[in-house]
Amino acid sequence: MLSFRGGVHPHDHKEITKDKKITELSPPDTLYIPMQMHIGAPCVPKVEVGERVLMGQIIGDSDAYVSVPVHASVSGTVKEIKKILLPNGSMSDAVVIENDFKDEPFDEHGKNKDYTKFSRQEIIKMVREAGVVGMGGAGFPTHVKLSPPEGKVIDTVIVNGAECEPYLTSDYRVMLENPEEVIYGLKVLLYAFGIKNGYIGIEDNKKEAIKKMQEKTKNEEGIRVVALKTKYPQGSEKQLIWSITKREVPRGGLPADVGVICVNIDTCCAIAKKFLYNRPLIRRIVTVSGSGIKEPQNFSVRIGTPFSYVIEAAGGMAGDVKKVIMGGPMMGIAQYDLNVPVVKGTSAILLFTEKELKQPNTDVCFRCGRCSYVCPINLMPYYIADAYRIGDIERCEKLGALDCIECGCCSFTCPGNAKPLSRVREAKRTILENRRQKA
């Protein structure tokens, strides 16, 4: 079985929403569409208060290279432009749209169906226009990913269907319900690079998805569906590339350095939607799960829908909810305000009651070394944590704190609940801050 060294095996809890079909969530009256849902320069609003916008119309854009435009996810009127809180805790300008429930599309339907008519540059430009970002959570603009630095030859495209985070079933449902779109998106990418070597990697706890994708790719030349060992963080880019191709992304490098481009299932669908139906990225699949929700669901949600609306649509909270997380439980971000909107990177909304959150209130490291054992990138988290504890940031850097992918395996496995990740992450940010100050 394809795998990598390290990692942990948390209970996946996917049974809760595994068999729940993706349902289209009707958009709310008011949507808050942030100008920054990606890594890079924030967009500038291109519409004015009172203006009527159509579904799929660009409402924010930026001239910066590392940035993608933002689209209206419904048709309606711009009510105001104000600063709002985002799920990642930062503040950003947002265009508030009052929905008129007409869903009047901005663009002609399905005019670019044949991707083979376009050159690689044109395809990349169209991907940018569609506002596609990495939808696994990080939100890195996909068109930047598709433009590797000169001299780097891409020979493999990997579609990441690992979905290793517990509770999440959005990618799984997409693979079962829209396998054609996934394959179409992959074909667009393979065509853009002029190569015939595509992989769809799926963890082997999703047997049905593997079967389905294998069935659908039977007659596709150069596309292989591979089963991966169920292990967290199998869906991390570098680990996935190693598992499938046995190539190691160099320190501080990009997948392009080893000739690989890696995209998420939902990202692949977003690319396919641009070409198939000429639709930009205005929806995303969100798993609503956890013990604190009445009816766990897989929703197709318009970008900009407030969390509270999504939770209400899933029957509301059950019991005494103590924590709400955007994303998976391992790497997701805890929320304190449910008025935040669903953004491009919102793969799940998880609600937990006290039961799941029980954690010993200790902070002890007894140097058992388990964190080093499970670290998928071979760091020594307890060493870095110790160096941070005494304020030796230089040593943290020497020990490779910057290579940390923040997967949380170390904190998950720590018997003393010493939260090594928290310290490594702080060390990492301090190093980056110091660098910025020097520059």
Binding site: L85, G89, Y336, D337, K419, S422, E426, T430
Partner: protein, 262 residues
């Protein structure tokens, strides 16, 4: 007998020879060091706190002798040390105003509202990176003790969720000023008494949902002051200590009781 005598002579002879060589080498390769450096090191407190901005007392001594730093650069030593160093350096000592540090937040647990429950690393820097910390007030003290750990003199304590500086233990080295992610610490003259314990720049009406112990920019203190020493700038009262005469009027009139005598 003779053998041991020869041995003894040989050993002491080699020792003597090496001694002479070393003595000559020391003369030839001698590193000239200003003797005043040692004297200044002697005069400095020797806490190596780094409050002066140099990596320790020795580094500061060197900088003073080289003329890169002024004789009153040591914030810990105060007037006394400055005078001693001035004497060594043969210059007239400039005036040193003894200072102390204060934490400008009065948002104790019951006063300041929280936006979430923080269970992470007990460190203000870590907490402040999670959308500014658990307090609704983005300026407020997080009370996780990063300053307590930074202080070399044990002068800071967290009391009811807010850092409090012990006036007498504080040496104004400034380490807390650097450590606090919220920049809450300020160095004020040692004998100043009135302090504004708030940094919140929100308007008065917004304060209702943030903290009950916050400046509401009502300007009552401004009107109460006969000496033009307190002004509300950016919705926060600021005292000009060069004008303050310690009459205590502002302390009496402040409706939120955040101008205090400490």
């Amino acid at each position: 007998m003779t053998q041991s005598l020869i041995l003894a002579l040989a050993v002491s002879g080699t020792g003597l020879a090496f001694g002479i060589i070393l003595a000559i080498a020391a003369k030839i390769f001698a590193v000239e060091q200003d003797e005043r450096i040692d004297q200044v090191i002697e005069a400095l407190p020797g806490a190596n706190c780094g409050g002066c901005g140099y990596s320790g007392c020795a580094a500061l001594a060197e900088a003073i002798v080289k003329g890169e730093a002024s004789v009153n650069s040591c914030p810990v030593g105060g007037v006394e040390v400055a005078n001693k160093i001035a004497q060594i350096m043969g210059v007239k000592s400039e005036d040193v105003i003894r200072k102390r540090s204060i934490c400008r937040c009065a948002g104790v647990k019951d006063a300041a509202f929280d936006k979430y429950e923080y269970t992470g690393l007990q460190d203000c820097v870590a907490a402040s990176r999670l959308s500014g910390g658990q307090k609704v007030c983005q300026w407020g003290c997080l009370g996780l003790g990063t300053c307590v750990r930074a202080c070399m003199f044990g002068a800071i304590q967290i009391v009811d969720g807010v850092a409090v500086v012990d006036k007498d233990k504080c040496t104004a080295c400034g380490l807390c000023v650097k450590a606090c992610p919220k920049s809450l610490f300020a160095l004020i003259p040692y004998d100043a008494e009135e302090c504004v314990l708030c940094k919140n720049q929100n308007k008065g009406a917004e304060m209702r949902n943030i903290c009950t112990a916050g400046c509401i920019a009502c300007k009552i203190c401004e009107k109460a002051c006969d000496y033009d020493a307190i002004h509300v700038v950016d919705n926060i009262a600021k005292i000009d200590y060069s004008k303050c005469v310690k009459c205590g009027e502002c302390v009496k009139k402040c409706p939120k009781k955040i101008i205090r005598l400490i």
